[in-house]
């Protein structure tokens, strides 16, 4: 479990995160949602230690991450996988080398064992025979899948996904969503997904946190989000006329 306690972060006079506390549970897809610029990505960067916080604590299974030294943080980071918005694959490495990268640095596996693990991970994300390809030869969806394979290569306990569906067509987006959900359940990972895609929210949102102007505004499940009368959430969920029509039709029934 990841626990965030009273996190605040400012850039000069601009308060981006205001006293946010939350729990992210294992075996569940924990979603952080909100409008662009609401502070979702900053919150995630603070949780994984890419950005220092002004105040607050982050605990990975009761281990206070932010007070750790570099070596201790490194141990936690080896339990952590992250899927970046653009994939963040290393351009100079092939698909196989990208997935093998964390294994070659941190595991004591032989090359054959590493290769076996790479093939298992690529197989798990439905990418077979793509080992020799380079990131420039992959489609957006394939890049995301390779990034997921790399993120799970070290058997992480915690998985962070920053807008996993951005730039993908609806069908591929659902494939990625389902993959994240399946992997979360299969390996009992604490998964945190940052998104503003309502399809993802409805597909995989077990535990949803809505961030509004840097504050935690609401928390609940994907079923509860449709029924809440919170104005800011409704403005977000029913932003399009299509969604408004659906809401009105539901109300009539």
């Amino acid at each position: 479990m990841i626990e965030v306690k009273n996190i605040s972060k400012s850039f000069g006079e601009h308060h981006v995160l205001k006293n946010i506390s939350a729990q992210f549970l294992p075996g569940k897809a924990n979603l952080i949602i909100g409008q662009s610029g609401s502070g979702k990505t900053v919150l995630t960067k603070c949780i994984v230690g890419l950005m220092p916080v002004d105040e607050g604590h982050v605990e990975y299974d009761n281990r206070d991450f932010l007070s750790m030294n570099f070596k201790q943080k490194k141990e936690i980071r080896q339990e952590l996988g992250m899927l970046f918005q653009g994939g963040a694959l290393f351009d100079s490495l092939s698909v196989e080398e990208n997935v093998m990268f964390p294994l070659s640095i941190f595991s004591a596996m032989s090359h054959e064992e590493q290769l076996e693990r790479v093939n298992f991970c690529l197989n798990r994300v439905n990418l077979v025979n793509s080992n020799p390809l380079y990131p420039s030869e992959l489609s957006g969806g394939m890049k995301k899948r390779v990034a997921i394979a790399r993120a799970i290569a070290m058997n992480p306990k915690y998985l962070f996904c920053d807008e996993p569906n951005s730039g993908l067509d609806p069908k591929t987006a659902i494939v990625i969503d389902n993959l994240i959900k399946e992997i979360t359940l299969e390996f009992n990972i604490t998964t945190v997904v940052i998104t503003h895609d309502m399809n993802s929210v409805m597909e995989i949102g077990d535990n949803i946190i809505f961030i509004y102007k840097g504050e935690k505004w609401w928390e609940g499940s994907n079923e509860e989000i449709l029924r809440t009368d919170n104005k800011e959430i409704n403005d977000f969920v029913y932003a399009s006329n299509y969604m408004k029509r659906i809401k009105n039709e539901f109300a009539k029934k």
Binding site: K73, E75, M82, F84, G86, A88, F90, D91, S104, I105
Partner: protein, 247 residues
């Protein structure tokens, strides 16, 4: 002034972070050989071309400048040799390398920064500066002296070839000139300068790339800054080293 101090402090902090033990020596070795190939072998063509023509021009200019009957013609070879060894090969070629290698390093690391590849390394628990920057600095410091040695040879060779072909100097006089009063310390001095210049080019360009913030436009700006600052610092170091090593 405050901005200059900020960048200087951040540069030294980055260098401190960079010079730490790599995660795995086998990976570091592989990265080092890749950089030796990219930064060294990749620069051979342009350096060779520039060096040959640089030597040729010095020789021809020298021959036309030395009009006094008191100056023997073999002085053309001597002048080509000394200007090549003391200044043109170590400094001018390092400035050319600052343009070629510096922009390459800054744009590569800058692109990795803006596409989250550096964050990905950090998330994995890899020290990104040691993994990315250290092999580039070590490779530059190792390979640049060889490139400069090659440049020295080709510049003097270019001077001989074009000097003889254009008829401004005879082969005998040129070869006699390049052997006359040879001071072996000049080569050592040039190579010592080269090592310092190589460190400046690789580290300053890496610094500019590493702290890129934004997108493609900022990568371009970092690349330009890397070249400009590398050249300024190479020229400054050239002055200081000349004072220390020659005077």
């Amino acid at each position: 002034m405050l901005k200059f101090l900020y960048h200087t402090g951040r540069y030294f902090l980055l260098m401190k972070q960079t010079f730490s033990v790599p995660e795995k020596w086998s990976i570091f070795r592989k990265r080092l050989f890749e950089e030796l190939d990219k930064l060294g072998w990749g620069s051979v063509g342009i350096v060779a071309l520039v060096s040959i023509f640089m030597g040729a021009v010095i020789t021809i200019q020298g021959a036309y400048s030395f009009t006094s009957p008191w100056i023997p013609l073999y002085a053309v070879g001597l002048a080509t040799r000394d200007t090549t060894l003391l200044e043109l090969s170590p400094t001018i070629i390092s400035i050319i390398l600052a343009g070629k290698v510096g922009s390459n390093i800054a744009s590569e690391i800058g692109t990795m920064r803006v596409t989250d590849q550096i964050d990905a390394l950090e998330i994995m628990g890899v020290n990104p500066s040691t993994h990315l920057i250290l092999p580039k600095i070590i490779a530059s410091v190792i390979i640049n002296p060889f490139i400069i040695l090659m440049s020295m040879f080709l510049s003097i060779f270019g001077g001989w070839m074009f000097g003889v072909l254009s008829g401004v100097v005879t082969s005998y006089e040129y070869v006699y000139g390049i052997q006359w009063g040879f001071v072996p310390y000049y080569v050592q001095y040039a190579l010592e300068k080269t090592v310092v210049f190589a460190f400046i080019i690789a580290s300053v360009s890496s610094y500019q790339g590493f702290f890129t913030d934004g997108g493609a436009l900022e990568v371009g700006i970092s690349s330009t800054k890397a070249v400009v600052w590398s050249i300024i610092l190479v020229l400054l170091a050239n002055f200081v080293l000349t004072q220390i090593l020659l005077v």
